[in-house]
Symmetry: C2
Subunit: 399 residues, 2 copies
């Protein structure tokens, strides 16, 4: 019996493709009944699938693999055109020919996280037991569960040790979790714009987003896939609120200020008078075209639950005890969602665990989303750190 | 014909009182057809009414009047039990016997702002032309309109000059507007935790709240008073999101951290696992008991439109040109909604206008809401500033 299958899906011609089960332009690994995923919630998930993309080739001794982890609303389309939006990959600033993560040198893997909606098992996926979308019957997952699933994929690909794990925001949480859960399998780790636990304020923002979704009558208690409808307005509101937290006061001021949209004077109405209002509405309305509302609930919940210190008996340094991984921690001055103080706390814990760690705070006014944008200083740091790690790993002499 | 009436309303026994028209335990001034309010939107509002409370007695030469201006979700119940919630007045920390604003010394006036929902004309009020609630037929109002209405009330009370105008947040905007619109009528002004214009980020947060309300199907395009229903969930979500901005990351961490609500471990569900979630949900659900959703739209819009520099031809200092008013500007270190930089800009403009101005930044981790809380340093500053102004005004020798 074939318990694990990897298939390359393509857009079916002339028929709608349900991306939650069969995402276009993506690989899928299916884990059968003999490979259940043991979740933190105490549930065995089986069967399940992980959708992923790869770029570049694995070298002979399988030592050049890099796992790239996506943020809350990202997916596996990290360095290729997104099949739904038609936009470029979300981290093509960092990944590509001549870029710090060059597919000519690395075998780059990016999964859709467990709980996501672009092909990895999640609330929008078909529950194999019922043939209907899971909805809220899908078990609540954690960042640790996401990483467990990624580790099973890495096993499936026959890779023992990842050369590097890289990610920002929720992706950075996965990087830290990789280093904590599988220290011997991570040679180098780059957690960017993240923290070892979600703050009360961040939980609060997530809760507002969830309430916006659950307040939408089209949510139907999470059963909208079955009952028809789609809580687009609620999800749009959630996205609008969250999007503010990804930027900065300064960036919003620079981009929009108090400029009116297509007019000189206020309309004295509730239309989108200001450019920043139009921008936010656009962010909300485009997001709902590509994201599942229940998935948003699950992934925000996973971030809320993230707390490496609690998992390590209350002492953060114990999460990294004895680690041989090399760390490069990056933060951004204007990031108020994951401020530098959080990264500093991570670095202190790594120091306390006698880890190899370098730390860079990058001066920018672009806020949390800076890690996705054109930030030459960040690219330089990633490049330099990876070069050093290549030498330490002896990668350059290998084929 | 009596064009202006002041009446003291009381809870009608055995029948529901519609607070939007006849608020309990409040005074009301009604302005008839010969006293229209000319709004910035270019509309004459007439008739209209302003609900207000007073504390203390006006002295013989009417020189001891203090106007206290409320914030977005405040009302005229500044120093007395609120008729809906049963809670103490919202600024009893500052106002009362022996406190910096002592009714034994001052005649304190607090109005419900124009556009509000506790008795001043607003979208929840009955439109006299139709006998039905205004809803979105009510004209959009500005902070300047609110202050115009207050000035008409002050005229009605026979007061030429206010000894002081005091307020925080949207109340502080009214203080600044008073000083700009009626410099000769304001002896002393205390704008607290505010700005001379609403920032792009703050407009963005307001827009999310409005979208949450307007996404609620019970909003019915603003006609819920007529069609039945009440967009409680949307308004609750708006309040939850806004409430986060009134606090600070540090305050939330101190109050709630990542503590679970009534349990040791996560439930792996979307219940309110964390204390901060329960707290926010409570904030949302109690708010909707006392506040009108359309009013929330109007008042956030008024704040968005606030821009003293734009009103003064683009140069902020011109808004205060030739002013004789004494200013005391106060900000709080952890206020990220109206950060100290905004107050500094106000002070710079006042300096450029050669105004008398003192400025205090108070160190606290309580965020924007600090102005409503027990902040002894703020009380000391208010007391000291008012004492100085009393001397300058020669108030102490008067009856």
């Amino acid at each position: 019996m074939v318990d694990i299958q990897t298939q390359h899906t393509q857009a079916a011609r002339g028929e709608a493709v349900r991306d939650a089960d069969r995402p276009r332009d993506s690989l899928i690994a299916t884990f059968g009944p003999d490979k259940p995923l043991k979740l933190d919630a105490g549930v065995l998930l089986s069967p399940f699938q992980i959708a992923y993309t790869t770029y570049g080739a694995l070298n002979a001794d399988k030592s050049n693999a890099v796992m790239v982890c996506h943020a809350l609303t990202g997916d596996q389309y990290v360095a290729q055109v997104h099949p739904v939006t038609g936009k470029n990959g979300w981290w093509e600033t960092l990944i590509g020919p001549g870029k710090p993560l060059d597919p000519a040198r690395y075998f780059i893997i990016c999964t859709n996280v467990l709980g996501g909606c672009m092909g990895s098992s999640g609330p929008a996926s078909t529950n194999p037991a019922t043939g209907q979308p899971w909805g809220l019957e899908f078990p609540v997952v954690t960042v640790r569960d996401m990483v467990r699933a990624q580790a099973m994929l890495v096993d499936h690909l026959g890779i023992e040790t990842l050369f590097a794990v890289v990610g920002g925001s929720m992706g950075g949480m996965q990087v830290l979790q990789w280093a904590a859960s599988y220290p011997e399998r991570v040679f180098a780790a780059m957690p960017i714009a993240c923290a070892t636990r979600h703050s009360a304020q961040n939980i609060a923002f997530h809760e507002v987003g969830r309430q916006a979704i659950m307040a939408d009558p089209e949510w139907h208690g999470g059963r909208y896939h079955l009952e028809g409808g789609n809580p687009r307005r609620g999800l749009g509101v959630a996205r609008m609120g969250a999007h503010i937290t990804y930027l900065s006061d300064a960036a919003l001021h620079r981009k929009f200020g108090r400029r009116f949209q297509d007019r000189e004077n206020p309309t004295f109405s509730f239309d989108a008078d200001f450019e920043v209002e139009s921008y936010l509405r656009h962010q909300g309305s485009t997001f709902v075209e590509r994201f599942d509302a229940n998935s948003y609930l699950y992934l925000t919940r996973a971030m809320d639950y993230f707390d490496l210190a609690a998992d390590a008996g209350g002492t953060l340094a114990n999460a990294f005890k004895g680690t041989q991984t090399r760390f490069c921690v990056i933060s951004f001055t204007s990031d108020w969602l994951f401020p530098t103080s959080e990264s500093r706390a991570t670095v202190h814990a790594l120091n306390a665990a006698s880890a190899r760690v370098s730390f860079a705070e990058i001066v920018t006014d672009k806020g949390h989303d800076a890690f996705l944008l054109d930030e030459p200083e960040m690219f330089g740091i990633v490049r330099g750190f990876l070069e050093g790690a290549r030498k330490a790993r002896g990668l350059d002499g290998r084929k």
